[in-house]
Symmetry: C2
Subunit: 228 residues, 2 copies
């Protein structure tokens, strides 16, 4: 086994499967919908049905949080919400900075949903003189030269990267040097980080690959059988 | 088995597992990197190593495209690239429209990578009088009232939704009525579409859930053993 495979295996042992983790926000949204409707309990079967999933998968995903549903009764919705939020650490606030105050950076600063997940973006950084000193959606924009000082003084854990891919590794190295421990990468490039820093890349192309495959299957099916 | 579960099962039968589909763009990027470096063949083991995956998984994912690697030699890189692109339909251009010409819409229009995937965004639509008649990254912005006519006249297949979640279903219904067959949804809401329309939702929160879980595990580990 090579070193990369060893690392992956260690992650598998320590961590949880990404597809299951990725579904937790879907459950959370559905559970909060039930909550607003005044529903107090929900079974795996109902959650699965409302989200278009299979109930065995739902039970398995939710068991990561340590909760057990009661047969014939289901989960207590308030408890399940707080279990998921605590499991993800979304019940606490985590401070973040964002580097790259362009269109994508602005979209992320404007995305209200992240506040609910405990993400507090304290400042944005850019190299564009026209942006430095302004604020975007009430978030101040500073010069990239200020990053290290700001991260240290404010004990920032998370760095969000929304710069062009040509400078993404440069910004990553700057973040790591400043003491950032977790990088949320929106640039379409694989970043190198030391082993004491975690990194997660948002793959917009991955979602488009799923859509593309669905479109292709649908159109191929229709050529065979005529439109639905 | 209820109706939702039946639908899921039908999709499973027809389609490919999403996690595998989601990895195809990663392979494609890595393979194009090899190509630029003048590498002609690559084994599963090497691809797995360079992407931090396990080789069994790589072989399984790539077998979706119908390619078979040769033992001790690996895949021919040019062939593998064209297999993946053709599997996803990325070797052909697909015309799309985008509704919601705000910060997120602008970021997507500016994302050059999608052109490589055959995605051609022909027009954006909005209700904001200040945006209608302008263009964003050389894409014209029209009034939402024009959507139906434009989609029909230009035989648009894909609709991209970058509006606030409160109006996302309204825009979806308008797209479906206009004849859109595939919806790529960036709003954090589950959309209802008829069975002859496919829909894929980009879950930014899902990626943040994975990052959050990694951060939490890392910090918990350090509290036990001290920093790495």
């Amino acid at each position: 086994m090579n070193k990369a495979e060893k690392n992956v295996q260690r992650d598998y042992k320590k961590g949880y499967p990404s597809p299951s983790l990725q579904r937790l926000p879907l459950y959370l949204r559905q559970l909060k919908l039930y909550q607003r409707e005044g529903v107090e309990k929900a079974s795996c079967t109902r959650i699965a049905q409302d989200l278009g999933l299979i109930s065995v998968q739902v039970r398995k995903d939710l068991s990561m949080t340590g909760i057990a549903g009661r047969p014939k009764v289901g989960y207590n919705i308030d408890e399940l919400i707080s279990r998921i939020e605590s499991f993800l650490g979304w019940d606490k606030q985590r401070k973040a900075v964002l580097v790259g105050a362009g269109a994508l950076g602005g979209a992320i600063l404007g995305y209200a949903g992240f506040v609910e997940h405990g993400l507090s973006i304290c400042a944005a950084f850019d190299v564009d003189e026209n942006k430095i000193g302004t604020s975007i959606r009430s978030c101040p924009v500073y010069s990239l030269d200020e990053l290290e000082r700001f991260v240290e003084q404010n004990q920032i854990v998370i760095g969000i990267i929304t710069v062009p891919q040509s400078v993404a590794q440069f910004v990553t190295d700057k973040m790591v040097k400043a003491g950032i421990r977790a990088i949320w990468n929106y640039s379409p490039v694989r970043l190198s980080v030391p082993s004491n820093v975690v990194c997660e890349t948002v793959q917009l192309s991955s979602s488009f690959a799923v859509l593309s495959s669905k479109v292709k299957s649908m159109l191929a099916e229709e050529r065979k059988t005529g439109p639905a």
